[in-house]
Symmetry: C2
Subunit: 257 residues, 2 copies
Amino acid sequence: MNRNPEELRTLVEGYLAELAFTPELGGLEQALRYPLAAGGKRVRPVLSLAVAEAAGAVAEHCLPAAAAVELVHTFSLVHDDLPAMDDDAERRGRPSAHIAFGDATALLAGDALLAEAFRLALSYPAPMVGRELAQATLGMIGGQFRDVTGDTADLAALHRLKTGALFSAAVGVALWVAEVPEGEQPAWRAFGDELGLLFQAIDDVLDGDGYAAAVGVDEARRLADDAAARAHARLEAIPADTGVLTEIVASLAARTA
Amino acid sequence: MNRNPEELRTLVEGYLAELAFTPELGGLEQALRYPLAAGGKRVRPVLSLAVAEAAGAVAEHCLPAAAAVELVHTFSLVHDDLPAMDDDAERRGRPSAHIAFGDATALLAGDALLAEAFRLALSYPAPMVGRELAQATLGMIGGQFRDVTGDTADLAALHRLKTGALFSAAVGVALWVAEVPEGEQPAWRAFGDELGLLFQAIDDVLDGDGYAAAVGVDEARRLADDAAARAHARLEAIPADTGVLTEIVASLAARTA
C-alpha cells in the first residue's frame, strides 16, 4: 500500500529536520536550516517519494535524493532573494535569509545548500542521482539567467528551465533510486514534464504573472488543465500503481495558494 | 616519464579552454569563461595531474576531476569578489566578474561554476571524485564563513578550511582516479595537507596578511619552510616516482608572486 502525499510530506519534514549538515560549516548551519525549515508544500520531494513508491522502491531509500532536490530548490530561493537578484525582503511570510543573517551569510548559505545537495546525491553508490541533479541545477540557473536578463519572449522555454528542470529531476532521481531501466523511464519523465508545466501555469494564475500576464488568466488556466489532463493520461499508460501520483496531479491542479 | 609541471599546466589550460558547458546556460556561459580564463598558476589542477601520474594513472584521465577542482576554486573567487562579500573590483589585474557582467550575472555564474564542477566530477563511473569535491567545497565555505564573521582566532583551523580543503581534494580526486587503494592514501593526503599549509603561508608572506600579520613575516616564512620540509619527507616515504611533486613543492616554496 503506497503512502498518501500527506504521509510522504511528513516523512520529508522529519528527514529535513534531522538532516546532519557537514560539521565544518560551523555557525553557518543555522542559515541553512532557516530557509529550509520555512517549509512550503515540499512538492518536489513528495513527488520524488511518490514516484519511488509507485516504481516499486521503498520511499525511505529515496529520502536523500528527494532532500537533495529540495535543497537545490531552497538554494535557488535564497540566492534569488538577494539584493543582487530580486531583492526580496520576505519569503513565505518571514524575513528572507539575507534580512535575517546578512547578505554575505545568505550568499554562503545558498552555496552550502547546493554543495550539501550534491553530498546527499552522492551518498548513493551510482552517480546517476548526482548527474540528474547537476543537469537540473544547470538548467534552472540557465532559466534564472534568462529571467534576470529579460530574455522572456519564449515563456515556455523559460519555464521549462526555471521550474521544469527541477520537477523533471524530482522524477528522474526517484527512477534511478527505484532502478527503473532507462528504456522504461521516458513515460515517467514525460509525466514529470507535464506536472512541471501544470505547477508553473497555476503559479502564474495565482500570482497574476508569467503565463497569466502573457496570455490572460483564462488561457493560463486552460494551459494548466490541459497539462493536468496529459499528466493523467501519461500515468494511465504506466503499468504501475500510480494512484498517489494521480492524487498529486489533482491537488496541484486544484491548489489555490 | 612523468610530465613536468609546465607541461601539465599546458594540458590544464587546453582542457579548460575547450570545456563544453551545459548548453542550457545560454549567454551566461561567457560569464563562466571570463573568470576561468583569467588563469593564475593553476596550482590545484596541476597538483591533481601530477599526483595522478605519480600514482600511475594517465594524466588525461584525471583532467575532468582536476578541472572540477579549478572550477570550485573559481566559483569561490567570483562569489568572494561580490559586493555582498569582499566587494573587490579587480581580480588578477582585470575587472572582477561582477564589474564586467553585473552582480546578478556574477552570482549566477558562480553558482553555475559550482554545478559544472559537480557535472565534471560525476562523469566518472564511481561517486568518489564527487564526494571528495562536495566535502572540500563545504569545508571551504565553512572557512569563508569564519572569515566573514571575524572568527579568525584559530588561524590554522581557518586556513585548513579556506585553502587546505581544496588542496586536499586536489590530491584526493587524483588518488581515486588513479585507483590508489584507500589504505595507501593517507601518506599522499598528508603530503597534500602540508602543501596547502605551505601555499597559504607563502601567500600570507607575499600579501602581508594572515600568518604574516599574526606572527610576523619571518615566523610565517619559517612556517612555510617547515611545511615544505615535511612535504618533502612525506614524498620520500611514498614508494612511487614523486619527482614532479618534489618540483612542485620547491617551486611553491620559492614563489614570489
